[in-house]
């Protein structure tokens, strides 16, 4: 062992047993069992990690969920279609509009409703605003995991600007309930585009500053480059999607692969990189943040000023949808977000199932990725996968 290099002798670490699993003898006092979570600033929500350490290196990791189970799917299955809206949006606090969209679209597909063109433009605008506010939290948040708090504070301020726009458009800052089966609840308020442009100009400046302070920072690079590298074989094995897959070179973007709303009328390309470490996963999100800003500008420039924003729907208190099934997906900031709904002709859904990116990324992928990592990098790795426990426990 040289003075500056880490010991490469692996003999003192646990070795695989006959069944291929590592043999960890806690009584040997060579290892420490450590819980990180469920109440811990170093996890991304209500979940816990059971870590086995050799020194400060993780040799085994288990994820534990169940601290936040509120039975969303079953709650929706026992409510009228219109009542399912307020439950569905709470399945991911960080980005509720994607939930609104997939739920409404499922109901519309199953009942054969085609929403007006204007509603499609506004929905696309809201979805991109939602992705943008999410990126404004998670992009500088990656720096926050390594102690760079200043970017987080700037990001929160920028996010507040977008939440201001949400408030004037929908009346709500976090949960909007702006989409409704059949369209949206209203048109853009007067002067909305001008105020949105003013907010976007501030965000343009933020994008440059975060590049200087975070991505060009030698210490940040030291903490994130070549750390928690994603093995490309894991992408298909675990169904990895979104920026995590794109940073590993997989060109997967629902907006391009399965265009919905008016995404096919917008000019953009999926952003990919070829080496998925913490740095590049964050970098992909930084580019996508800029892409969202650009898409919002494109939408505001191209969208009509007037038009119907809601198709007629039956009386929502007596709305029975014919037997059928639908799967609707959308590209959230974390990747493909899908809702599967089965109806049986009654006034409630027969079965609802949500497929969020966190389900595999925060459970299976994280367990594999943590092995060999330093205990100090756990939070950084979790944020780089953008895990959201509520969408695991739905």
């Amino acid at each position: 062992m040289s003075l500056f290099n880490i010991d490469t002798d692996r003999s003192k670490y646990p070795q695989p047993g006959e069944d291929g699993k590592l043999v960890v003898d806690l009584d040997s006092h060579k290892y420490v069992k450590l819980w990180q979570g469920p109440n811990h600033p170093g996890v991304t929500g209500n979940m816990a990690l059971e870590l086995t350490l050799a020194g400060d290196e993780i040799v085994q990791a288990k994820t534990h969920v169940g601290y936040l189970h509120r039975g969303f799917e079953k709650l929706i299955e026992r409510r009228l279609f219109i009542q399912g809206m307020q439950t569905s949006i709470r399945m991911c606090v960080a980005e509720p509009d994607t939930n609104e969209y997939v739920y409404c679209q499922c109901v519309e597909e199953l009942s054969g409703i085609e929403i007006p063109e204007m509603a499609k433009w506004i929905r696309t605008l809201v979805l991109e605003m939602s992705r943008l506010q999410s990126f404004l939290r998670v992009v500088p948040g990656q720096g926050g995991t390594t102690g760079l708090g200043i970017g987080v504070q700037w990001g929160m301020y920028m996010r507040e600007l977008i939440l201001d726009r949400f408030e004037e458009l929908t009346g709500g800052r976090i949960y909007h309930m702006y989409f409704t089966p059949g369209g949206v609840r209203g048109l853009l308020p007067d002067g909305f585009k001008k105020r949105m442009e003013e907010s976007l100009i501030e965000i343009d400046d933020f994008v440059k500053r975060i590049d200087d302070v975070m991505y060009s920072n030698a210490v940040f690079k030291k903490r994130t480059v070549d750390v928690a590298v994603l093995d490309p074989r894991w992408v298909d094995k675990y169904g990895i999607v979104g920026p995590v897959a794109r940073s590993a070179g997989f060109k997967r973007d629902v907006r391009k692969d399965y265009p919905y709303l008016i995404y096919n009328q917008l000019d953009f390309e999926a952003i990919i990189m070829n080496h998925s470490d913490i740095y590049n996963r964050s970098r992909v999100r930084w580019y996508e943040l800029q892409q969202s800003v650009d898409l919002i500008r494109q939408i505001m420039a191209k969208m009509p000023d007037k038009g119907d924003f809601k198709a007629p729907t039956p009386n929502v208190l007596h709305w029975e949808i014919p037997k059928g099934e639908a799967y609707v997906r959308a590209e959230s900031s974390r990747g493909e977000y899908g809702l599967y709904m089965v109806t049986d002709g009654s006034d409630k859904p027969r079965r609802v199932n949500l497929r969020g990116p966190s389900y595999t990324q925060a459970v299976c992928l994280l367990e594999d990725m943590l092995v060999g990592a330093n205990i100090a990098d756990v939070h950084s790795i979790m944020v780089s996968l953008q895990t959201c426990p509520p969408e695991i426990e739905r």
Binding site: F4, H40, T146, G147, V152, V213, K222, A376
Partner: protein, 302 residues
């Protein structure tokens, strides 16, 4: 009045001034950090409220005598450092109990509090404490190396281990300050200071998300109050040490406040714009950069 009695009174008064200056400086730095982050920040009197609140909270939690003594040892380290540190040069009463060779004792007191804290937190038995201790001691050992070399360099330069004599040698104009007469040693020491004051990029020991709180994991209430008191005193005294060794000392309290503020601000300035190293990275950095500069500083004056 007897001189010794008078000196004791001035020393206690000095401790009060240093404690309050440390609290005010801490609030000012947090305020500056908040403004950089587009926030309003805490009110300037928040550290006093925190202290009163924490001292008023009692605990039923017990891990044994050493657990209680940990914060006491830590505070003893801070106060010990203060007692032997000359504050204002030119007044016999503000020199505290400084004596010939006090520099060696000062170096010892820097480590004393941390060792006591390690024993106390270790008795708590919480794995987070143990991780924090191992990280803290590893890092502080490497922080001390370049600082010690810088001090050896100026001890050779001024041919003394007395802080008062080092300060006196720097009088007669700012070009006589060590920062200009021995810039290499100053650079090594100022890089060490970043670690001594535990700001980013060298604050993994007390990082909340990489390992919650480190050694003081289970210290709360009045224990935490003692640790906060120590932190306020320690930061001023550490800044005073660097002021005395490298920036000409202070001949009045105004000069003392200005210089300690700027020296402390250096670590806050760096900390605001840098994330933190992992422990092995910071250990490696201290051994590669400041240590080499420290060795160079000694060689230049041998």
């Amino acid at each position: 009045m007897d001189f010794e009695l008078k000196r004791l009174g001035f020393t206690l008064l000095g401790l009060l001034i240093v404690l309050n200056w440390g609290l005010l400086m801490g609030a000012a730095m947090r305020k500056i950090g908040a403004r950089v982050g587009k926030r309003y920040g805490i009110p300037w009197f928040q550290p006093w409220i925190n202290l009163v609140k924490n001292y008023a909270i009692r605990t039923s939690l017990s891990h044994g005598i050493m657990f209680y003594l940990g914060p006491v040892f830590r505070l003893s380290g801070g106060i010990g450092l203060f007692l032997f540190m000359p504050m204002i040069i030119g007044s016999q009463l503000w020199l505290n109990y400084s004596f010939q060779g006090d520099l060696v004792l000062i170096m010892y007191f820097q480590f004393f509090g941390m060792l006591g804290m390690a024993l106390g937190a270790g008795e708590g038995g919480h794995p987070y404490s143990a991780i924090g201790i191992s990280r803290g001691l590893s890092q502080f050992t490497t922080i001390e190396l370049p600082l010690t070399l810088a001090i050896i360099s100026i001890a050779i330069q001024y041919d003394t281990l007395s802080i008062i004599e080092i300060v006196q040698a720097q009088q007669g104009g700012f070009m006589n300050w060590t920062v200009f007469t021995n810039p290499v040693a100053t650079i090594a020491a100022m890089l060490s200071l970043l670690g001594v004051l535990s700001h980013s990029p060298f604050n993994l020991v007390i990082a909340p998300n990489e390992n919650p709180i480190g050694p003081p994991t289970e210290y709360h209430g009045s224990f935490l109050g003692v640790l906060q008191t120590n932190r306020a005193i320690l930061h001023v005294v550490e800044a005073a040490l660097f002021m005395n060794l490298f920036f000409g000392g202070a001949t009045n309290w105004f000069e003392f406040f200005a210089k300690t503020f700027l020296i402390y601000f250096w670590s806050v300035f760096v900390g605001v714009v840098f994330p933190r190293f992992r422990i092995e990275q910071s250990v490696s950095w201290f051994l590669k950069v400041p240590l080499v500069i420290g060795v160079l500083a000694v060689i230049l004056y041998m």
